[in-house]
Point group: C2
Chain length 134, copies 2
């Protein structure tokens, strides 16, 4: 398969490894938001978060949790973001499921997304649409 993350995991393409468990690997993002930014991903190819089993989700986010804890300890940061972009519309550039773990500092000036408001009854309307599709 012509997937750069599959090639990275197989060693066909170079990467800087940070973390490994039975089914999950963590490598540095070569275009880091902040230095140390790590991508935790299944070794097997899954395009989407929606394709992951419960056991894989557990191993994947245990990996993200361990990498985040190691950032706090090893990079002397106070926090981190964990993010999955699912679908190209959400900013997923490589169609191989990966979890971003991004160390954060007070000085990085990263802007969080703006927040809106619901009109009257609109929240219930949206919640209903999601609940009916569960």
């Amino acid at each position: 398969m012509d997937c750069i993350f599959c090639k990275t995991i197989s060693g066909e393409m170079p990467s800087t490894k940070v973390y490994e468990s039975a089914n999950v690997a963590g490598i540095l993002d070569i275009h880091p938001t902040n230095k140390g930014h790590t991508l935790v991903m299944p070794k097997q190819h899954y395009a989407s978060l929606l394709d992951a089993s419960g056991d894989l989700l557990k191993e994947l986010f245990e990996g993200a949790q361990k990498v985040g804890a190691a950032m706090i300890k090893g990079l002397d940061v106070k926090g981190f973001n964990v993010m999955v972009s699912n679908g190209s519309v959400a900013g997923q550039l490589i169609p191989h499921l990966h979890v971003h773990v991004i160390p954060r500092t007070l000085e990085d000036n990263l802007q969080h997304w703006p927040s809106g408001r619901y009109r009257e009854n609109e929240a219930e309307e949206y919640a209903g649409k999601i609940k009916n599709a569960l």
Copy 2:
């Protein structure tokens, strides 16, 4: 405990419920980035992602996965972001672990964080600091 998410889950404060499993609840964010923006959280109080057991991580991200799938189906969106902000420096406003699930559209114009580069040998240096702290 004076935690607004604990009070929301107990029913002491109002919320718009979207999802529920044994130990996890999903409610609409009252300040949505996009409409339908849901917060999936443990019913019990955990301040941080770092405090969650593997089993809780599994249930929490299975919840995020199900809510994301329901957004694609029910809100007619093509993707979603899953995000945890861990620590106030990372934008965590409420110290009760919660997973943002944010539906995405081509028209929402949300900006992703910028990406940087490593100087020579700097990636290995950062990876080493994280690995040594694992």
